[in-house]
C-alpha cells in the first residue's frame, strides 16, 4: 500500500489518517475508489473495480514483517 491515495479516507496524499484498529483498507491506494472488501474469519481481501487490484491480509502481514530493505 504505497499509492497516492489514502486507503482509509480515499483522498490523495492525505497523510493525516492513522490506520483504524480492526479495519481492512476501504479505498484503493491507486485511484481512491471505494474497495469491494471480503472479510473472512481469519483474513480479508480487497478488490478495486476500477484498477482491478487485489490485495489480501496475508500480503499486508508480510509487508509489515518484511519492510523494504529489511
Amino acid at each position: 500500500m504505497s499509492g497516492a491515495f489514502c486507503p482509509w479516507c480515499g483522498t490523495r496524499d492525505c497523510g493525516d489518517c492513522r490506520r483504524p484498529a480492526y479495519e481492512a483498507p476501504r479505498h484503493c491506494d491507486g485511484c481512491g475508489r471505494r474497495l469491494r472488501v471480503t472479510v473472512h474469519p481469519t483474513g480479508w481481501e480487497t478488490r478495486c473495480r476500477r484498477c482491478g487490484t487485489v490485495s489480501t491480509s496475508a500480503e499486508a502481514r508480510e509487508a509489515v514483517r518484511l519492510p523494504e530493505g529489511g
Binding site: 484498529a21 480492526y22 479495519e23 481492512a24 476501504r26 471505494r34 474497495l35 469491494r36 472488501v37 471480503t38 472479510v39 473472512h40 474469519p41 481469519t42 483474513g43 480479508w44 473495480r49
Partner: protein, 343 residues
C-alpha cells in the same frame, strides 16, 4: 462524604445482589423488570460484585464450557434496509459497495478456517431484507456441503422470513437461525424505519416454531436508555432464544450513528452481567464491537456471564486473532465445546 453515606448504598447493593442470587440459584426463576432495574442502578463500584454474581449464575445454569463460532458475510452491502448502525445499507453515503453472493469455494474455505479454530458453529450472514427464492436455494444447498466438509453446525442469518422459508431452512438442516431484535421495541423506530420491530419478532417466532435454534441478539450503545435495555431484556425473555449475541456499537463511517461513542468498558461489563442475570440459561456470545469497547477488559467479560465467542473477523470489520481468544480461554481454564439452550 460521610461514613453513613458510603455504607448505606453498599448495604442496599448487597441486598439487591443477594435477592438476585436467591432468585436465580436457589429458586431458579427468571428476574423480573423491577429486579433488573434495581441491579442496573447499582453504582460503578458494585460492578465487580455484579459480574461475580453473573459468573456464578452462568456456571450454575450453563457450566464452564465456551462455544466458539465463526461468521461470514456471504452477501455484503447493498442492503435496502436503513438500520442506522449498519455500514451495509445502500441508503447511506460512504457505506460498503455491494458484492455478489460468494462462490461455494469461498464459503467452504471460510468454514474450514472456522473449524480450524476449534469452533462448533459457522454462520452465513446476508445483508438483505429477506431471502428471494434463488438466495434461499443457494443457502439450502450450502448447508450439507459445509457440514460434510467441516462437521460444523450451520447457522444462517438472512433477514425476515416467511413461514414457508423458515420451514424450508429447518428442513434443509439449518441448525440455528440468527435474527436480532437489536434493541427494545419502543426504541426501534429511532434505529430503523424500513421494517418494524414486530416483523423481526415475528421471524423469531417462526424460527422457533419450525424447530431451529433461535439466535437473537442485541446491539448496545445506540443511544438507548437503561429503561430501553431493561425492556429489551424482558422481550428477549419472552422469546426464549437459545443464543443471544451481544454486540457493542462500533460507529461506522457514513452511517447515522457514526457520531456516537463506544460504550465505556465498565458499562459494557455491567450489561454483560445484566444480560446473564436476565437470561441465565442462554448462550451469551461476545460479538461485534467487543475489541474497541472492552479493550483490555476482554477476559473480564468471560467472568461476567459470557459463555460463547465469535472468533476471528466479523462481517465487515476485523476482530482480534483467534489465537488471542484461544489463549484467553486456556488461561481462564474454560473448556471449548458445543452448547445448547438449557432454560
Amino acid at each position: 462524604m460521610t461514613a453513613a453515606a458510603t455504607t448505606r448504598p453498599t448495604g442496599e447493593a448487597r441486598s439487591r445482589l443477594r435477592a438476585a442470587e436467591v432468585a436465580l440459584i436457589d429458586e431458579r426463576r427468571l428476574l423480573e423488570a423491577d429486579e433488573l432495574r434495581a441491579l442496573a442502578a447499582l453504582d460503578d463500584e458494585q460492578v465487580p460484585a455484579l459480574t461475580a454474581l453473573a459468573h456464578a449464575v452462568r456456571l450454575e445454569w450453563c457450566g464452564p464450557t465456551v462455544e466458539i463460532e465463526g461468521i461470514l458475510s456471504v452477501k455484503t452491502g447493498g442492503c435496502p434496509e436503513d438500520c442506522h448502525f449498519c455500514s451495509q445499507s445502500a441508503r447511506f453515503s460512504e457505506t460498503l459497495p455491494a458484492a455478489p453472493f460468494l462462490d461455494v469455494d469461498e464459503v467452504l474455505a471460510a468454514a474450514r478456517e472456522t473449524a480450524d479454530t476449534g469452533a462448533s458453529e459457522f454462520c452465513m450472514v446476508l445483508a438483505i431484507r429477506g431471502p428471494d427464492e434463488r438466495t434461499l436455494q443457494r443457502l439450502i444447498s450450502l448447508v450439507p456441503l459445509i457440514e460434510a466438509e467441516t462437521g460444523l453446525n450451520v447457522a444462517v442469518s438472512a433477514g425476515i422470513l416467511t413461514d414457508d422459508q423458515a420451514g424450508r431452512l429447518a428442513d434443509g438442516g439449518v441448525h440455528r437461525y440468527n435474527h436480532n431484535l437489536e434493541t427494545a421495541r419502543s426504541f426501534f423506530p429511532q434505529i430503523a424505519t424500513t421494517h418494524t420491530w414486530d416483523e423481526r419478532y415475528e421471524t423469531c417466532l417462526l424460527v422457533r416454531r419450525h424447530g431451529m435454534e433461535l439466535c437473537c441478539g442485541a446491539l448496545l450503545g445506540m443511544g438507548e436508555t437503561v429503561e430501553h435495555r431493561v425492556e429489551l431484556l424482558g422481550q428477549l425473555q419472552s422469546l426464549d432464544p437459545t443464543e443471544v449475541p451481544l454486540n457493542f456499537l462500533n460507529p461506522r463511517p457514513g452511517t447515522p450513528l457514526q457520531i456516537r461513542r463506544p460504550l465505556r468498558p465498565l458499562e459494557a461489563l455491567r450489561w454483560i452481567a445484566l444480560f446473564r442475570l436476565a437470561l441465565p440459561g442462554v448462550i451469551l456470545r461476545y460479538a461485534g464491537g467487543r475489541e474497541i469497547t472492552l479493550r483490555e477488559f476482554q477476559a473480564m467479560g468471560m467472568t461476567a456471564g459470557i459463555n460463547a465467542l465469535i472468533v476471528g473477523n466479523y462481517l465487515t470489520t476485523l476482530g482480534r486473532s483467534p489465537d488471542e481468544d484461544l489463549r484467553m480461554l486456556d488461561d481462564l481454564q474454560m473448556p471449548i465445546g458445543a452448547l445448547s439452550g438449557v432454560i
